[in-house]
Symmetry: C2
Subunit: 255 residues, 2 copies
Amino acid sequence: MVGPMNSTAKIRLYVDHPLGEGQCVPLDRDQAHYLFGVMRQGAGDPVLLFNGRDGEWLAHVTQAGKRAGELACDTQTRPLQMPPDLWLMFAPIKKARTDFIVEKAAELGAARILPVQTAFTNAERIRQDRLQAHAVEAAEQCGGTFVPEVCDLQRLDRLLDGWDGARRILFCDEGLAGASPALPGFFRDEGAAPPDSGPWAILIGPEGGFSDAERARLRDMRCARAISLGPRILRADTAAVAALTLWQLALGDWR
Amino acid sequence: MVGPMNSTAKIRLYVDHPLGEGQCVPLDRDQAHYLFGVMRQGAGDPVLLFNGRDGEWLAHVTQAGKRAGELACDTQTRPLQMPPDLWLMFAPIKKARTDFIVEKAAELGAARILPVQTAFTNAERIRQDRLQAHAVEAAEQCGGTFVPEVCDLQRLDRLLDGWDGARRILFCDEGLAGASPALPGFFRDEGAAPPDSGPWAILIGPEGGFSDAERARLRDMRCARAISLGPRILRADTAAVAALTLWQLALGDWR
């Protein structure tokens, strides 16, 4: 689907540079190649810019070269729109599905994305830079003005060691699938709470599920709540999208 | 995530053959290659079978060959579990994302999947057989006993010409993004209706959105209801998963 673009600008570009009235924005080699080589833009052409901090700005090309270029900001078209304070923690799976989870988390409005290594996670490392680029691309495509930070892979047990109990954890336990559907009741109850219901994190397990020790530890945490995602077993990437959707509807900015 | 398998059987296989006590099930070349070549199973080994009609059966290998084989059914491990009477209609997009939509619809419990050609759909044809295979694989992976039918591509206008008004349409209109969030209210209202709320179809548009004519026609249909999926613009594949999730929670079998 096409983003809510200014009618005169066909391209939306993320830049890691301050944006403001009259601000000049240099382009690096890749950006210049994309804008002038691939997208055939030239001097004077309008482009929408965002940097994840200063909202969205209508800019125009002031210098177009093969390896560099420059834009100048004209007017702010949208303010920065922050997503709710929701983290997505997930155990990396196969490459395409991990990419997909990051893209969908950025689209659906997670504030921070934390790949975690659980007892049954096969991945030893991730390409953080590549995943961050996926989050940027998702924001470019989908009209977002914010880009969630993708953290480097960390061990779930260590992350939980230092956990701030003020951030509640929605723990998607595939062991509950087919059990009594606790989920709708949970979301309806929570939905009745005051709108500003504080920070949350969604936790999605790996293909092998959580270990008994992990499950026991999470169940003992007062801030953690296990839910089931319906009667069918969902793949981890499906579970991530479903949980983000349900949280946004019940507690986030889809209300 | 691992499906709810019998502890003795590691493999779940879809077969297009009747299943029942003592029933012999011949394997075709591809199935024999997968089961005996790739998965290294042999005579006597247990396998779970389903065919989308007769539930799930524990079977064992009676003949294992390079190009053929045979299984015999022992006991039914689960009855057929039908999803709710929900169709997913979507405009095909890029290959990987179309595959993804079919996979997710099968996982999340759609009964039928209908690729539709809208005014702004680029695809002229689809590989129906390949998409059907994706639905089968999703059911194999996710413990489903039902496989949704994937229809061949048809024109949306013709489909609507013959539409049975008893099947309501949930029409995800990206033009509403950022507008008043009609969605939660819609789902809460509908959630209060009697449990058996009849057949539905979710309709997801292509990247370019619906045409004005399509939008006007859908808005004039008494059985159709337009909703917004939150304040951010979602890609078509994300919109499909989000809409399926919300429908299952409000009206389907996640209640």
